[in-house]
């Protein structure tokens, strides 16, 4: 009556024997609703690790989402569920709204935009606005895992706080797992429950 009803604990995101060009093999588990901060010297392969988890780069080993192996899901479906936000996000169409699969007025408001921002020309956006809207367009897909690669590196303190709060709210509301690459120890303390750093091709407690 005990074990049969309680299936083994399945982490939201799990890496097994995961290797990238300059890391690994890595074992990593992030639970639903948990934020894990990742730090390490520049060039240590943090960005490449996130790209590989999003299946944008070839990699060894396997990544699992709620126990489902990456290789069993079509790649676009995996990337909608395991969403990557890079430090800088390009906009390829003239109008902001063209990049959104659907509008999210509450999220827009929270980030300090009116609904008319969707009709704005991308050229009018500051780099801070671009990054906050890039996060929002990613959240429209309803991802279960967020991979954030120094998302606030180019933002002022107010905009940084807005992004942190949006991620926080999304994480608790959707029980999303968050892997947050940051250089700022203060930020790590604010946003993460666990912190790891890359040391000699491995992950260790920070």
């Amino acid at each position: 009556m005990k074990t049969a009803d309680h299936p083994a604990h399945v982490p939201r995101l799990c890496l097994e024997g995961f290797t990238t060009r300059n890391l690994g093999p890595l074992e990593l588990q992030v639970d639903a609703g948990q934020c894990l901060a990742l730090s390490g010297p520049s060039g240590s392969g943090k960005s490449l690790l996130l790209r590989a988890i999003a299946d944008l780069d070839p990699h060894g080993g396997e990544a699992f989402l709620d126990g489902m192996p990456c290789s069993r899901l079509p790649a676009p479906e995996w990337r909608r569920q395991v969403a990557l936000l890079a430090a800088e996000s390009p906009w390829w169409l003239p109008q902001v709204g063209d990049h959104f699969c659907r509008a999210d007025p509450a999220g827009l408001q929270e980030l300090g935009f009116g609904a008319d921002v969707l009709r704005w020309q991308v050229e009018r956006l500051s780099s801070g606005e671009r990054q906050r809207l890039a996060l929002l367009r990613l959240l429209c897909n309803g991802p279960k895992v967020l991979l954030l690669d120094e998302p606030t590196a180019n933002l002022d303190p107010d905009a940084t706080a807005a992004v942190e709060e949006l991620v926080q709210r999304y994480r608790t509301a959707h029980q999303a797992a968050v892997l947050w690459v940051s250089h700022d120890p203060e930020q790590v303390r604010r946003v993460a429950q666990r912190a790891l750093r890359i040391h000699e091709r491995r992950l260790e407690a920070a």
């Binding site: 299946d55 944008l56 070839p58 990337r79 390009p90 390829w92 897909n141």
Partner: protein, 267 residues
């Protein structure tokens, strides 16, 4: 031969070649640095055309399917090599050559066969006086379209790689992520033939028609052939360019729909 054809003597050609020599001398004087290339190209055109003249003379006398086929394959391989040579960013391995050649094989050969069987209806269908010039004109133009289309595709993909990957990150599939770039590339491959058709007869007198008229053909008959050729070229270039650009755009992504720019390298 036809009564309208005036036979050129070697002296006529030698006199014309003095024009090239004169430009080369000017280049030397003005330090343009192209005199050597110009003279080498002049010698090459003389030798290559004399050689093909002899080959065609032999083939016309034999009118043998194997010979015609061998020449067609040779032309295709040279065109495939030329497509690769014109790329600034090339698909690595045999892919660049393979995709270009296959697209030309499918489009140029199919359109040439269509013309020989349905429109010109020459007997036998592979009669070299018709099949080889037709195929040559089609290959030359299709090659142009494919080379332009592929060049645009690989270079734009390289420049806009972050945008393509951003689209992948948002969950678009490879087809959506490259669709805009593929459209631009196909357009740029088709523009030369569109321009040629639009300007034909008004700005330029196409070479084939001019040649037939010089050889004594009635102008209206020559014009009809030229119109046929224009349509064939538009069809061959269109299908060939679309096929090549599509296949190459697929090759830029792997089985997990990752953008694999390691599959192109700067030539």
């Amino acid at each position: 031969m036809n009564g309208g054809l005036i036979i050129l003597t070697p002296l006529d050609l030698a006199l014309a070649s003095l024009l090239v020599v004169a430009v080369a001398a000017l280049s030397l004087r003005m330090k343009l640095g192209v005199e050597r290339q110009l003279l080498v190209a002049g010698v090459r055109t003389t030798l290559q055309l004399l050689l093909i003249g002899l080959v065609l003379k032999a083939v016309f006398e034999r009118a043998d399917l194997v010979w015609v086929g061998a020449i067609a394959v040779f032309m295709l391989l040279v065109a495939g090599r030329e497509v690769v040579a014109r790329q600034r960013y090339r698909l690595v391995g045999w892919w660049g050559f393979g995709i270009g050649s296959f697209a030309m094989l499918v489009s140029s050969f199919a359109v040439t066969l269509l013309a020989l069987h349905v429109m010109v209806q020459v007997q036998p269908w592979y009669a070299p006086q018709y099949s080889i010039p037709l195929l040559g004109m089609l290959l030359g133009n299709t090659m142009n379209g494919i080379a332009l289309g592929l060049d645009r595709l690989t270079e734009t993909s390289w420049q806009q790689r972050t945008a393509i990957e951003a689209r992948l990150m948002l969950g678009q599939d490879w087809n959506q992520a490259i669709a805009d770039i593929r459209r631009q590339s196909a357009r740029s491959g088709l523009i030369p033939i569109i321009n040629a058709m639009a300007a034909a007869g008004v700005v330029s007198l196409p070479g084939m028609m001019t040649g037939q008229i010089l050889a004594g053909a009635p102008p209206v008959e020559a014009v009809k052939y030229q119109i046929l050729i224009m349509f064939l070229i538009a069809g061959g270039t269109g299908f060939g360019t679309l096929a090549a650009v599509y296949a190459a755009s697929r090759r830029l992504f792997d089985e997990r729909q990752r953008l694999r720019l390691d599959r192109i390298k700067k030539g």
